[in-house]
């Protein structure tokens, strides 16, 4: 058992444990912080796979931008400590959890037989760099890249529209006025 495999197994265990903590903590802020930990562990695994650019993007976009947005919304809505996260187990949720475990068992059953024995590809060192990703992005995937900008514009417009005060006259406004 070499060092790389030991480090991988430790990181994998930490990733699974932090993911489970995300869905079991009662306080949403705690969940969000464990999710940040999970994103960092996955970024390290990307570095194991020589995907440097994606690892940096993972930390800046996911752990940076998206999680700040989550924490901002949690604190804006003041959901710190309430009864929203109580695990009230009814039959539907029990069945859902059991089916999740069954699905995990099925996937692992096929993955265990899926050991090709081959290591990282010889090109793996070079395809993860910013240079090679940029070349592939602008040469072969230019149109999807441009469409992504339209998607982001639509998301900005949608978020602003949904956050406008005029579209609702709910209890929050009535209380403030």
């Amino acid at each position: 058992m070499n060092l790389e495999l030991i480090v991988f197994l430790i990181l994998a265990a930490a990733a699974v444990v932090s993911a489970i903590l995300v869905i079991t903590r009662k306080n949403p802020v705690t969940s969000a912080l464990y999710l940040v930990l999970n994103f960092f562990i996955i970024a390290v695994l990307y570095l194991f796979l020589r995907a440097q650019f994606i690892a940096v993007i993972q930390i800046t976009v996911y752990a940076g931008a998206i999680m700040v947005l989550f924490l901002f919304v949690i604190m804006l809505l003041n959901l710190g400590d309430d009864r929203l996260m109580k695990w009230k187990f009814n039959s539907t949720r029990t069945i859902a959890s059991l089916m999740g475990l069954a699905l995990l068992a099925e996937i692992l059953f096929y993955v265990i037989n899926f050991t090709t024995g081959a290591g990282l590809s010889p090109q793996a060192e070079s395809i993860g760099t910013v240079e090679s990703i940029g070349k592939a992005l602008y040469a072969g995937y230019l149109f999807p890249f441009e469409i992504t900008s339209v998607l982001l514009l639509a998301a900005i417009v949608g978020a602003i529209f949904l956050s406008k005060k005029q579209i609702s006259d709910g209890p929050m406004e009535k209380g403030n006025e």
Binding site: L77, A96, V111, S132, A136
Partner: protein, 100 residues
């Protein structure tokens, strides 16, 4: 050397944690976090296959997935804020106006 199967097994485990979170939780924000967990597990599988097959297309796809996830979380959290403004709750059991 780490076998490819280990990465896929980890990806599957993270995905299942996300699925169970979506199916069992009631707080809309934490359900969104579970969706992010699932997107990340899919990204991990894509990067692993990309590195083991020596093809950059997987990493390009992950780039697009991250862009879509950013757009999705912006719109989703705006929906949650609008929901909270109208209902004063983010508990999805209490939001059933579309249910007959």
């Amino acid at each position: 050397m780490i076998p490819l199967g280990y990465y896929i097994a980890l990806s599957a485990a993270l995905f299942i944690v996300g699925v169970v979170g979506v199916l069992t939780l009631r707080n809309a924000i934490v359900i969104f976090m579970s969706v992010e967990l699932m997107l990340n597990s899919a990204n991990l599988a894509l990067i692993a296959f990309s590195a083991y097959s020596g093809d950059a297309a997987g990493q390009i796809l992950v780039f697009f997935v991250i862009a879509v996830a950013a757009a999705e979380s912006a719109v989703g959290l705006a929906i949650i804020i609008a929901l909270f403004r109208n209902k004063l709750t983010v508990n999805i059991d209490e939001v059933n106006v579309l249910k007959w």
